[in-house]
C-alpha cells in the first residue's frame, strides 16, 4: 500500500534529475506514514521514461502517456495528476519551474493544502510537518497542512538525489483525465533554450557567481574561471539589473536557489536576497576588495583583493594544481 505519490518530471522522453530529489522525500516520508510510494510519470514519451525509474523501490510506476500531453501546460497535466493522487496521503514533486507551476493547480483540484519548496520533513506523531524557508531564508517556518491530502514540492538542493536500490517496480498505464475549459484556452508555442554548454545552475557541483563590480567584463573574467572549474555561472541581482549579466543567471531569493559543493562569489557584496540563494552551499569562497562586505560573514574562505588581478591568478594556480 502506497501512501505517497511522486510526480516525476520528464523532458524529451527522459526523466529529469529533479525527480530523484522527490523520491528521496518519499523515502523519508514513508518512515512516518508507513507503506510505500508510487511514481507517476506523465507526458508524451512517459512510457519510455518510466523504465528509468523501475529500480528505485517504488511499489509501482503509473504512466500517463498521451498525445494531448506532448507539451507541458498545467491546465492539461493537473487533472490527470489529481486523479492519480486520489487515495494517497501526500502528492509530491520537486520545486523546479515545472513543479512550482503544476503542484498548486493539483492541490486546488484535490482540495489539498500546498507546502511549496520545502527543505525538511518533520515527523509529528504519525503525521508530517514540513520545514520551509521564509523571509529570504531568514526564518524557517514549520508548515502544518490541515487537509487530509498534502500537496508538497521539495527544494532540489535540500534533498540529495535518490540512488537506485534495485528491484523492478511494475509499470501500469492510466487514462488521461479530461481537462477543464481552461485547457482549450492555452496554447504552448515553444521554448527558447539558453545557449549554454555549461552545467545547469541548479545541478552544478561548482558555481562561479559575479557581482556588479565586474562591470562590462563579466563574461571576460568569469567564463575562463568557470571553464577551469567545470562550473555553472551565476550572478547577483545587482549585476543582472545593471545589464552585465542575463537575468536567468541570477542567484538569490528572486532568482535560482543553489547549494553546490563549491560556490565562488566574485565581486559580490552579499545582499540578503543573494545570500538566500546560496548560503546552503557546502563551501563558499568570496573574493572582494571591500573587507567589510557582508559576503565575508558567510564565506568559508575570504580573499580581500582586486578581482581583476586575483581571478586571472586563481585560474593559473588552479590549472597548475590540476596538472
Amino acid at each position: 500500500m502506497s501512501s505517497i505519490l511522486v510526480v516525476a518530471e520528464i523532458a524529451d522522453g527522459k526523466v529529469k534529475k529533479t525527480t530523484h530529489s522527490a523520491i528521496t522525500f518519499a523515502n523519508l516520508a514513508k518512515q512516518t506514514l508507513g507503506g510505500s510510494f508510487t511514481i507517476l510519470v506523465i507526458g508524451a514519451g512517459a512510457q519510455g521514461a518510466a523504465s528509468e525509474l523501475t529500480g528505485f523501490g517504488a511499489e509501482k510506476i503509473l504512466v500517463a502517456d498521451d498525445a494531448s500531453l506532448k507539451d507541458y501546460v498545467a491546465e492539461r497535466y493537473a487533472p490527470t495528476v489529481a486523479s492519480a493522487a486520489k487515495g494517497f496521503a501526500v502528492v509530491v514533486t520537486t520545486a523546479s519551474s515545472y513543479g512550482k507551476d503544476l503542484m498548486p493547480r493539483v492541490a486546488a483540484r484535490l482540495g489539498a493544502g500546498y507546502a511549496g519548496d520545502i527543505i525538511g520533513v518533520i515527523a509529528d506523531g504519525s503525521a508530517l510537518k514540513y520545514r520551509r524557508p521564509m523571509f529570504a531564508g531568514n526564518a524557517f517556518g514549520i508548515a502544518k497542512v490541515e487537509t487530509a491530502v498534502h500537496a508538497v514540492s521539495v527544494r532540489q538542493s535540500a534533498f540529495a538525489p535518490a540512488e537506485p536500490t534495485g528491484g523492478a517496480s511494475p509499470i501500469e498505464s492510466i487514462a488521461v483525465t479530461a481537462p477543464g475549459g481552461a485547457a482549450a484556452r492555452v496554447e504552448f508555442l515553444g521554448v527558447e533554450a539558453e545557449k549554454n554548454t555549461r552545467p545547469d545552475l541548479g545541478e552544478a557541483r561548482v558555481v562561479v557567481s559575479g557581482g556588479r563590480a565586474l562591470k562590462e567584463k563579466f563574461q571576460e573574467v568569469l567564463a575562463p574561471l568557470a571553464d577551469t572549474l567545470g562550473a555553472a555561472v551565476g550572478a547577483s541581482r545587482a549585476a543582472c539589473d545593471a545589464g552585465y549579466a542575463p537575468s536567468d543567471l541570477q542567484v538569490g531569493q528572486t532568482g535560482r536557489i543553489v547549494a553546490p559543493q563549491l560556490y565562488v562569489a566574485i565581486g559580490i557584496s552579499g545582499a540578503i536576497q543573494h545570500l538566500a540563494g546560496m548560503k546552503s552551499s557546502k563551501v563558499i569562497v568570496a573574493i572582494n576588495k571591500d573587507a567589510e562586505a557582508p559576503i565575508f560573514q558567510v564565506a568559508d574562505y575570504g580573499l580581500v583583493a582586486d578581482l581583476f588581478v586575483a581571478v586571472p591568478e586563481l585560474i593559473t594556480k588552479l590549472k597548475a594544481a590540476k596538472a
Binding site: Y114, Q253, T254, V298
Partner: protein, 309 residues
C-alpha cells in the same frame, strides 16, 4: 434622387458575405478591445531588511516589531505590467484600459493602495484581514469572489510574496476559476483577446498564448524596458527599466480615487486555513570562515582542507 449612397437601393449592394461581416466585426473589436486588469498587492516586511526578522524564544511566531513595510516587489512589478498593458506607451500617454488593485490587510495597508493609485491604478479594494487569518488558498478563494464581481480580463499577480515565499495563490486562483495560467512571466505581448507570455523556466523561456480571461504571475524581468506591450504600444517603444514612480500631482489626485472595503467572510465563507504555521526556527548560522592572505593559500586550502577541487 435624394437618398445618400449608404442606403442600399440595389440588391447587389446587400451582397456582403458572412465572412466579410465577421471580419469587419472582429477588426472593430480589435480596435476597441479594452482590457480590464485586477492586480493583487501584498504588504510585506521590507525584504532589504529581512535580517531584522526575529523569532522569539517561544518560536511560535515571527516578531515583526521594528520592521518596515513595503509592497511586495513582485506585486509592484505586476502593477507596472498592468499599467503598461493599459496604455499606449508614447507621449502623450493614453490610457486604454482599467486597473483595479486589491489587497488583504488591516486599515493601514490603504497606504500601499494609495501609492498604487498614485502610480496609475484606477480603483482599489481592501479586504479587511490580518496576515494570520490568511493563507495562499484563502486569498485565492476570496480573489475568486472578487473576480466574479469585477469580471476582469486578466488577473496579474507577483509570482510570490517575499515574506511567506509560498508561490501558489495565482495558480490556485486559475484552477478555481478554470482559467488558463501563465506563471513567472518575463514578457507579455497583448493580442486582441489573448496574451502571449514568455515564462521563466529552468534553462530558458517558454512561450504560451493564453486566451482571456487568464491569470498571469510575473517574475523579475517583466519590468525590463521591452518586456510588456499592449495592442496600442508600438513594438519599437522602450520603457525605462523598473517600476514607475508617482508624480506629486498624481499623489494628490490618488486621494480622490475610489477605494472600497470588503469583508473577508463575505468573499470566502469558509475561512478555515489549509496550511498553518505553529512554529518557526532560526536558520543555522554558518560558522565563521577565515580570510586567506593570497590566491596561493586559497587554492591550497580548497585542494587540501576543503577538498572540493
Amino acid at each position: 434622387m435624394t437618398q445618400s449612397g449608404s442606403v442600399p437601393t440595389d440588391a447587389a449592394d446587400l451582397q456582403i458575405s458572412i465572412e466579410e461581416l465577421v471580419a469587419s466585426v472582429t477588426s472593430r473589436r480589435k480596435e476597441e478591445f479594452v482590457v480590464k486588469i485586477l492586480v493583487s498587492l501584498k504588504r510585506v516586511a521590507d525584504p532589504d531588511n529581512a535580517n531584522k526578522v526575529k523569532i522569539p524564544a517561544s518560536g511560535d511566531k515571527i516578531d515583526t516589531t521594528g520592521l518596515e513595510w513595503k509592497p511586495n516587489p513582485f506585486d509592484e512589478y505586476a502593477l507596472e505590467a498592468a499599467l503598461r498593458l493599459t496604455e499606449n506607451g508614447q507621449q502623450p500617454k493614453v490610457r486604454v484600459g482599467e486597473v483595479v488593485v486589491v489587497t488583504f490587510g488591516p486599515k493601514e495597508t490603504e497606504r500601499e493602495l494609495r501609492s498604487a493609485l498614485a502610480t496609475g491604478a484606477d480603483r482599489a479594494i481592501r479586504v479587511d484581514a490580518t496576515d494570520d487569518q490568511l493563507d495562499g488558498d484563502l486569498v485565492a478563494r476570496a480573489l475568486k469572489s472578487i473576480v466574479e464581481q469585477e469580471k476582469p480580463d486578466v488577473v496579474l499577480m507577483g509570482k510570490q510574496a517575499v515574506d511567506g515565499d509560498s508561490n501558489q495563490s495565482g495558480q490556485l486562483l486559475a484552477e478555481y476559476l478554470d482559467w488558463p495560467q501563465a506563471t513567472f512571466a518575463a514578457t507579455i505581448e497583448e493580442e486582441a483577446g489573448a496574451l502571449v507570455v514568455g515564462r521563466e523556466v529552468d534553462g530558458g523561456v517558454a512561450k504560451l498564448r493564453v486566451k482571456l480571461p487568464a491569470v498571469v504571475t510575473v517574475d523579475l524581468r517583466i519590468v525590463a524596458g521591452q518586456s510588456v506591450y499592449s495592442t496600442k504600444t508600438a513594438r519599437t517603444f522602450k520603457y525605462n527599466d523598473g517600476v514607475r514612480f508617482a508624480a506629486l500631482p498624481a499623489i494628490m489626485a490618488a486621494k480622490k480615487k475610489p477605494l472600497v472595503e470588503m469583508k473577508l467572510a463575505e468573499l470566502a465563507p469558509d475561512v478555515k486555513l489549509k496550511v498553518t504555521y505553529g512554529s518557526f526556527q532560526a536558520p543555522p548560522a554558518r560558522k565563521a570562515g577565515i580570510k586567506v592572505k593570497d590566491v596561493a593559500e586559497l587554492v591550497d586550502r580548497l585542494a587540501n582542507e576543503a577538498k572540493v577541487l
